[in-house]
């Protein structure tokens, strides 16, 4: 990653000096060991602080919204999941492709700071180095080597698209798309919930939703939630109140999940940013699982020229409400 970081900086410098782009969208190292936050670079000399390490989890595609980037040429670095997000936003007509130069970064996986803390590897941590399938944590007391999959985010263990599916220029070598866990395994938690009774399921979700403080971080980070004006922000619409009321939390979460159905790329950012640790991916994955079962396997963000499952139909579609009956004329 160290080598690629230099390469990225070089590319960013050249793009800015050559006036190929007005802004470079990348990551910058913050004061804390796990801080690699999104940053905008407009001048060549600023690029020295640009970084690329195992903490660059933030999805930069979301920052490309048309209105934020009006008439500016932007160079953006995307990982595998960010590329899916980019395609999804293209499909939703939220990005003008001509204005963006996409630099693809094959992603080995990103480190979950919580897992590092749980292993107490963060004490005196100065650097994390990658060597093959292992990560070397350089601390003041010496070097500790751990298998990478023990500290990567859960979502990275299921990741099927570590290599960007869209790019103008690819940086570095493609990584193997083999996952540490079987991809179909991602539905196992959904199935576990489905096996419970209605009462148990409601008790579970009620306890989860009631933790919500409606900070809308899940919405703001979501590449599929990119409406110019969100119904939840519009007080005149009277969609969502401000009261601390369980039903309002439930309403918000069901509508949020339903709003991204068929467009959710399953990047898991919503549950990552949730300050209350609500397992939102279990809602999203339930909907993905049902789409796959009813309307055929679909991965949002793979191809922006296709139509999302909910804006199209087949005459002979199945449904979940008429038993055995498929619908259609003459049935």
């Amino acid at each position: 990653m160290e080598k690629i970081k230099e390469e990225i900086r070089q590319i960013a410098r050249e793009a800015l000096t050559g006036k190929k782009v007005d802004i470079i969208l990348a990551w910058e190292k913050g004061p804390l060991w796990y801080d690699s936050y999104p940053a905008f670079f407009t001048k060549e000399e600023e690029v020295d602080s640009l970084t690329w390490d195992s903490f660059c989890i933030n999805n930069l595609s979301k920052y490309l919204l048309e209105e934020t980037m009006a008439d500016k040429k932007v160079g953006v670095f995307v990982k595998g999941c960010d590329a899916l997000a980019f395609n999804q936003m293209m499909q939703d007509n939220r990005i003008r492709r001509d204005n963006v130069v996409v630099y693809g970064l094959p992603c080995p996986g990103m480190i979950d700071p919580d897992k590092v803390r749980a292993k107490r590897l963060n004490r005196g941590l100065t650097e994390v180095k990658q060597s093959g399938d292992e990560l070397i944590f350089v601390t003041k007391d010496g070097e500790i080597t751990v298998p990478a999959h023990e500290v990567y985010y859960d979502k990275c263990l299921y990741c099927h698209y570590p290599n960007p599916v869209v790019y103008d220029q690819l940086i570095g070598e493609k990584v193997a798309a083999e996952t540490a866990l079987d991809r179909s395994e991602r539905f196992s938690q959904v199935e576990a919930l489905e096996a419970l009774s209605a009462e148990e399921r409601f008790a579970y979700w009620d306890s989860q939703f009631s933790k919500c403080m409606r900070c809308f971080a899940c919405r703001n980070v979501c590449p599929a939630c990119s409406c110019e004006r969100c119904t939840f922000d519009d007080d005149d619409l009277d969609i969502l109140g401000k009261a601390r009321e369980d039903s309002e939390d439930q309403f918000f979460h069901l509508i949020r999940a339903y709003h991204v159905v068929g467009r959710c790329i399953d990047c898991g950012e919503c549950s990552r940013v949730c300050p209350q640790d609500i397992p939102l991916e279990k809602l999203n994955r339930k909907l993905i699982k049902d789409i796959n079962a009813l309307y055929g396997e679909y991965q949002a963000g793979l191809d922006p020229s296709t139509k999302a499952p909910l804006v199209t139909y087949q005459l002979e579609d199945a449904d979940s409400f008429t038993a055995g009956e498929k619908g259609g004329k003459g049935t």
């Binding site: 959904v190 409601f202 369980d246 309403f251 509508i255 049902d290 499952p309 139909y313 409400f321 619908g327």
Partner: protein, 154 residues
Amino acid sequence: MSVIANNAAVKNAQAFEPLIVAFCCNWCSYAGADLAGTSRLNYPANIKIIRVPCSCRVNANFVLRAFQRGADGVIIAGCHPGDCHYMTGNYYTRRRFSLLKNLLAYVGIEEARFKVDWISASEGNKFADVMNGVLEKVHKLGPNRKLRDSRWRR
């Protein structure tokens, strides 16, 4: 089951009077309700019909809001697939509410409380059957407390 016997069973049960919101498409199901009425078929007064131009006009918000503000059951009724007045509307309905139905079941709403069905303008009998069927099941389940706004009073 006979509609009349069913209705009697409902009347005798207890004081609980379920409130059921039925979104009916203007062209088929609403006309089906009309036919049920003019044919003197019984269907319970607990069903509150909201007429919509097409079943695909119904939004997931509508369903959740109904539950939030006092409904014990929600029904969406539209034309049979292939018969939509607007050609394709109910194909979208089918996909959208197949997913919503599963999602509601997933978060613990009893399946009988949410029903989607196709009722044509000539199916007055089916209209009465569907309404009675839902009412009977909801009656057995009792008042809905899930998704309900606690500030709401009937």
